[in-house]
Symmetry: D2
Subunit: 91 residues, 4 copies
């Protein structure tokens, strides 16, 4: 992964980790369920965005390289891995 | 798409279309909401499965071909299209 | 369900059934996978909207009635059913 | 929320926070994208489970109380809040 993209992803994950801590405090302070749920949905959306970024990286580099220069088995593997990840995301 | 996969997909979509008709009848007959919802979730899961199959086809053929023999712009386009579709699925 | 809401839901489901037929034709005519996938995602979003409408009806009427006048077992059942439906939606 | 359920939720959220930290390390160590994605999906599934637990609590207590003893406006508000949360989860 390029250094710049990597830094952005790590910054984003650190922010998400902080958000999870915030949700924990909300639970601890008996905040209203709906407010906690709204916050949890924001965290899940932020995680989904990280997944999309990683998928982009993966397609741009690993999949692209395997399809350009890999042998049939390597292409098969990359395609299957990608479909498996998408399948789980789509459920 | 290979003839066999195409027939399977069409059969699956026909079945889904029938399931949607079944849900419409359930609503018309004032069936219990939870039963209708359960049925709707089954339809959505069946549609997600069709999407996964199509994605597999797309990756195996279109993306694979672009990455193997396309120029940089074609690869860029295929990767961007794929990420855009996944992004919408993941939300 | 009120007559008006019921008519709207049925109209919406009929439209969705037509959309599924449209997707089937797209597959049959070998249209571009990404276009088919985009259409499938629209169908899934339309179904999710029907689910939300039904949930609203269910909460407004069945759950509301059980919680207002039902005994403990009826309340328990309504709450469990609702959570089970949501759990499946959230996956 | 009952003390026991609250402790469980907090323990679960602490675990999720640790998992996010683990994903950050995986990115930092340039681990394979697919492995990171798999881990991210596990975190998202764990968060969805927390949401379901909170929804259960919310339905069992807040919604249940409003529907049992609240006035029409309070019931309306609880139902609308619940549907709004579910709507966002379902997208």
């Amino acid at each position: 992964m390029q250094r710049e993209n990597k830094s952005k992803l790590i910054a984003r994950l650190n922010r998400i980790q902080g958000q999870v801590g915030g949700v924990t405090r909300m639970v601890d302070e008996d905040r209203y369920c709906i407010d906690i749920l709204t916050q949890l949905q924001a965290v899940r959306a932020a995680l989904a965005k990280v997944e999309t970024e990683l998928l982009r990286e993966h397609i741009d580099h690993c999949v692209s390289a395997a399809f350009a220069t890999g042998n049939a088995a390597e292409k098969r593997l990359k395609a299957d891995e990608l479909v498996a990840v998408l399948e789980r995301s789509m459920r």
